[in-house]
Assembly symmetry: C2
Homo-oligomer: 454 residues x 2
């Protein structure tokens, strides 16, 4: 699959002369993104596009082709794919929709694609997909206009999506939140490469440290379980499964021709394979972010806050997520009482109140981190309280450590967002609500427990 | 309670000379915010603060006092409150903490406050609270620095919070999302005015169209049910209850001395009183936003999307929230087939795909709105797809109508956010995930059903 991400030559079949058209935007994204290899637009109308020479057919191209991207109407795809096979293209991405997701006729068309691939050494992604994006090599088959969405910079998150919209939106938010990507793969109908191949590939990929997956169905259960079980021993895999109820199942069938299956069976299989299951789009993103932090040794959490209500909500959510809040040990209380005034209640949550200073936070963090009574910290900071300095984030950051996870929680406008950026740049993930912070901590614990059990 | 929100004279007892201190920031916020009445800082050290004359005691003030704000250590509060009563101040906000939330000693102190209030005509908010904010009159007792958080402009949302941090963060996000506020009330320990009084008051308030409430406990169950049952007939009340599990209950006790009680009993009582219960911080905000829209007549929803995966997730979430997705009627399909190409699958969800144009959206919206087969629309738009124009939001906005709710869903960076702002300014609420959009639609339906039943 390497050739999908680091091709020296790319043919774009169905490159269009019309801005906005999919075949135009793909070529444009390759050029604008700074892809360094050779580009070969293909279109029977050979007038130049974006100043590039256009080829009437892939067979007219003098060079060998590493990656061919096909974005033409469905009926034309089999012949064009055959031409790619004849050209000995190493891999192809079929963007075009109108295959098995549309019914029997489309399914027959998709069978022809499969047969062509079977008879060649070529690998295929799609059809009905948005393909690949690699921030390292700038390979980018996404057709969404680059000036309308952000694309994440280089980093460690590998992202596999059976949906373009889930793919696009998560990529855009990864960019917004300055989180780095290793590789993005969208495979949708999965006529050749499927979720299992993608997981296995990213499992071996040196740049990928965690893998997030949106899927609507599994093409081959046994293959999927094997790949996931193997990879999850080394890297966390976070999966969101779409198509859970009757309505979603029907929608998944007409979206990617997926047979969705019982959500309970899926959840059981995920657990067995060491996968962390996300309940919704938000958790898919949230859990991925959590893995900036180490996993907790156990479920004993300290909540430190300067907002009592946020502390109450975090306590509720911790309990709902299987975490426990041991009482603050007397030894810690004693030490903190020297620093905070008597009306501060040193329980768990420790509510430093809206009158908290930087020093109170530093003292509480220091003691809880040093204590063997706690396995992790949920750190809530309402940054707008008056006695916290503008440098409070810089004072929190040194407590980031490889042994005990710190999950941060705060929400607000511009002033708060500046602090969030600082914390996250330093590897401390920040969640906008106590409930999401607690769920993220629980996801870290779940991964560790699954690893220990296996 | 009017005097809390429209006082002609305000005494700030414990006004401080030190920036950052609570008593300084409160005075500063009144001045900076543009409060038009008279301000009387009170402090034994009578050096001017922020250029204002300072009074050694409230009794030295020549004018009568409509609102007194007390922000001094707990032990000093009873005497200062007595002085306010002697001065015949109409109402007081006690910001100071250190009362019943800290244990028996504090509870005794709080009893003294109650007694003083009982013997006077004065009303009291707090103690241990952040008080009130009114964007119309600029009365603002919040001590968080104004340059660190946004405060919402004038509008129709009444907000009652038993927590400063939940209060502050929701206000900040209301500001960020350009949503208008009528009045904000934080009462915490509720020694005099409690959640029931606040609900009753906002129920009568002309400016308030919906009421959101964060509470950790209810001071007087019968009084609360009576107030809520009455008000919910006229305005939606959305409540988030903190302190659900054992840990949260303990935290609530030491935060606001609340006796949290069984979550199941609370949920039952909420339903009985016509209250819409939010499951978490996010839903408290989300549900409030939903009431920009009319309520649906029934549970039959159409999902229109240009992202298949988002459609699948919305279908799952709709079903999980008790909504149903009827098939697209043949009559609508026929009409749409004249506009969209044959590979577009006109089911429910209607997935217009990443190749959608503005016209396809307009056609689908027009037909579904006109149909008596659907009670509401979940409208998903991935704005970055290439064939949607930059003016797509302006084409969606005219479909906003008072009969059939449209709940929008999209997520992304700058380009997408500009579209979200446009839609929300026109009264179309936008949610970042399909799951949150579906839950918001279900909340609208729940409110209507509760109203119809009563």
């Amino acid at each position: 699959m390497d050739q999908f991400f680091d091709p020296k030559t790319v043919a774009i079949i169905g490159a269009s002369h019309t801005p906005g058209k999919i075949g135009y935007e793909i070529l444009n994204n390759f050029i604008k993104g700074g892809y360094k290899g050779e580009l070969f637009p293909v279109n029977p109308d050979t007038q130049p596009i974006l100043g590039r020479k256009v080829y009437a057919s892939i067979k007219d191209i003098g060079a060998s082709i590493d990656l061919a991207v096909i974005a033409t109407p469905a009926q034309t795809v089999p012949d064009l794919l055959q031409a790619c096979a004849d050209k000995k293209a190493k891999c192809t991405v079929v963007i075009s929709g109108g295959f098995s997701e549309t019914g029997a006729e489309g399914a027959a068309l998709e069978e022809r694609l499969k047969e062509i691939v079977r008879k060649s050494k070529m690998r295929l992604l799609g059809p009905n997909c948005i393909g690949v994006y690699d921030p390292y090599t700038k390979v980018d088959t996404l057709f969404n206009a680059s000036d309308r969405m952000g694309k994440p910079a280089e980093g460690g998150i590998g992202f596999i999506s059976q949906s373009g919209s889930v793919g696009i939106t998560i990529l855009d938010i990864l960019y917004e939140e300055r989180m780095g990507l290793s590789k993005f793969i969208s495979y949708e109908n999965g006529a050749d490469i499927d979720e299992a191949d993608s997981i296995e590939y990213l499992g071996k990929d040196q740049k990928t440290r965690s893998i997030l997956v949106f899927l609507e169905g599994v093409h081959d259960g046994r293959k999927f379980l094997k790949a996931a079980s193997d990879v999850s021993k080394r890297k966390p895999i976070i999966v969101l499964k779409g198509g859970k109820g009757a309505a979603g199942t029907k929608a998944a069938a007409s979206h990617t021709a997926s047979i969705a299956g019982s959500p309970r069976i899926y959840s059981g299989a995920f657990r067995q394979a060491g996968i962390i299951e996300a309940a919704d789009w938000e958790q898919l993103f949230d859990f991925t972010k959590a893995f900036m932090q180490p996993t907790p040794k156990g479920n004993r959490i300290a909540i430190i806050t300067n907002g009592g209500g946020f502390g109450v909500l975090a306590a509720d959510a911790s309990e709902a997520n299987g975490l426990v809040l041991p009482d603050m040990p007397e030894s810690i209380r004693k030490k903190l009482k020297k620093i905070v005034p008597p009306h501060i209640i040193l329980r768990n949550p420790t509510d430093l109140t809206g009158g908290s200073t930087d020093e109170w936070y530093e003292a509480a963090l220091k003691e809880v981190l040093a204590s063997d009574q706690f396995d992790g910290i949920i750190l809530i900071t309402i940054f707008s309280t008056p006695l916290l300095s503008e440098g409070i984030a810089d004072k929190i950051i040194p407590f980031n450590n490889p042994n005990k996870p710190i999950i941060c929680c705060t929400v607000g406008g511009g002033y708060t967002i500046r602090h969030i950026r600082k914390l996250e740049a330093a590897g401390l993930p920040v969640y906008p609500t106590p409930e999401r912070a607690a769920a993220a901590m629980a996801a870290l614990l779940r991964y560790r427990k699954m690893k220990e059990r296996r």
